[in-house]
């Protein structure tokens, strides 16, 4: 299986990537690790005419403490996240979830920025960043701007990034001892989640759902119930509110709704234990 023909350009800086995006417009796609995009290109579900390789831009793989947050360069790979001592200490949900993505080979290549910019609702890390209340930093021709994670995902494989913007940094608030859980339901180790739940409970609960609609979704009704002090079981009954889960070869929409309530309950129980 071979992708359709395309032009290839390698960017060695964010500025160069932006200039290439400005030059090629809608015809261009950025590629970092390529583990979402290249499979789609091989199946010819994606046929960009220009591929801009940002995967080797130096200095964009950092994971560092910045005040109340941990800042992560967009090119940090899943393997970097799962092995980061700083993240394990300050934002333990992220390395835990990163370890559930795909398999070791995939985690050696896939990047946090890439999976967020791809915006697949079935991916583990977008929902996790949503639950954590992260901030995404985009850079375009006119400089940088910040986008809250809950404003970032706007449609199926569609994000708030403009056509000439590059996602450069992800900032996550330190969890400060908050309870957390990630529940992933699938049938084989390396599969995508049929449904997944990322949960953080502390002052501001963040509960987000994997594969329950066109975008990674926050379970706002559950968050509200948790804030009111509802039990895990009661809060979980609202898990499918506002969702629009797909029906596919793995599960019907109805079954996904059922799974969401079960997995949210388990997540809340684990997070508060």
């Amino acid at each position: 299986v071979i992708p359709a023909a395309f032009e290839y350009a390698r960017a060695d800086s964010v500025e160069e990537a932006i200039a290439l995006l400005v030059e090629h417009g809608d015809e261009a796609k950025l590629v970092a690790g390529g583990h979402s995009l290249v499979p789609l290109m091989k199946l010819r579900l994606a046929t960009p005419s220009v591929l801009i390789d940002v995967g080797r831009i130096p200095g964009l793989s950092y994971i560092e403490e910045r005040g109340d947050e941990v800042a992560i360069g967009a090119l940090a790979r899943h393997h970097d996240l799962e092995t980061s001592a700083l993240l394990k200490e300050q934002v333990p949900l992220l390395p835990h979830t990163a370890h559930q993505v795909g398999d070791p080979q995939v985690r050696h290549r896939g990047t946090l920025g890439g999976t967020l910019a791809h915006g697949d609702p079935a991916s583990d890390l977008p929902a996790t960043v949503l639950a954590l209340g992260g901030t995404l930093v985009a850079q375009g021709p006119n400089g940088r701007r910040e986008i809250a994670a809950h404003d970032f995902f706007v449609g199926f494989l569609e994000t708030a990034l403009a056509a000439d913007e590059v996602l450069v940094e992800i900032r996550l608030p330190k969890m400060a001892g908050a309870g957390w859980s990630f529940q992933k339901f699938n049938r084989r180790a390396q599969d995508w989640a049929i449904v997944g739940v990322a949960a953080v409970i502390n002052g501001t609960p963040g509960i987000a759902l994997v594969n329950m609609g066109a975008i990674p979704l926050r379970a706002t009704a559950v968050e509200e119930a948790v804030r009111r002090g509802a039990s895990a079981t009661d809060a979980a009954t609202a898990a499918d509110q506002g969702t629009d889960p797909p029906s596919d070869i793995n599960a019907s929409s109805e079954y996904r709704r059922h799974l969401a309530t079960v997995l949210v309950r388990r997540a809340l129980e684990e997070a508060s234990s």
Binding site: V1, I2, P3, A4, A5, F6, E7, Y8, R10, V31, G34, H35, V38, P39, M41, K42, L51, D53, G55, R56, H79, G102, D103, P104, Q105, V106, H108, R109, A189, Q190
Partner: protein
């Protein structure tokens, strides 16, 4: 075309490649290194696993252009120049860790990467660490035994998790 310069099994190779050429095609068709197999061709089975800068990757899901300037090791590059086997290959032979053999090059490369990354490996760690590699003969039992034997040989503690 893109000009790439890749270290493959210790030798620097330079070629002009079409942007859409996959790394596995580059290895097999351009360089003639057919030890790396193509299985599912959808980054599920791991038959095409090679080392890129020391880490296991699925070469069916990388463009050759993305490997520019990288160091690649394939199954052909593991053994010694005198034809001697790498310890992981030796362990696979010793423990009968292959049946049809199709998954073996990818399994061996994934195991080499896993052993390099994990200081401590028990049975669960090996099984999870090889989750990206499928054996259609379902010969996992002896594959796990072989990798555990390698972990033991290098002097790290191994425990069987029950």
């Amino acid at each position: 075309v893109v000009l790439i310069s890749v270290g493959v099994n210790g030798t620097r190779r330079q070629h002009e490649v079409e942007p859409r050429l996959l790394l596995v095609q580059y290895l097999r068709e351009t360089l003639g290194l057919t030890g790396t197999n193509i299985g599912c061709d959808t980054s599920s089975c791991g038959a095409c696993t090679v080392l890129l800068n020391g880490q296991s990757v699925k070469s069916c899901t990388l463009l050759a252009a993305q490997a520019d300037e990288a160091e690649i090791v394939t199954i052909e590059g593991l053994g010694g120049p005198d034809g001697s086997l790498h310890p992981v290959q030796e362990a696979f032979r010793e423990h009968h860790a292959l049946q049809c053999g199709y998954c073996t090059p990818g399994m061996v490369m994934a195991a080499v990467s896993l052993l390099a990354e994990e200081g401590h490996l028990d049975e669960r760690g090996v099984r999870e660490g090889l989750e990206g590699n499928l054996c259609r003969c379902t010969g996992y039992h002896n594959i796990v035994k072989a990798v555990l034997a390698c972990a033991a040989d290098r002097g790290t503690p191994t425990e069987s998790s029950s």
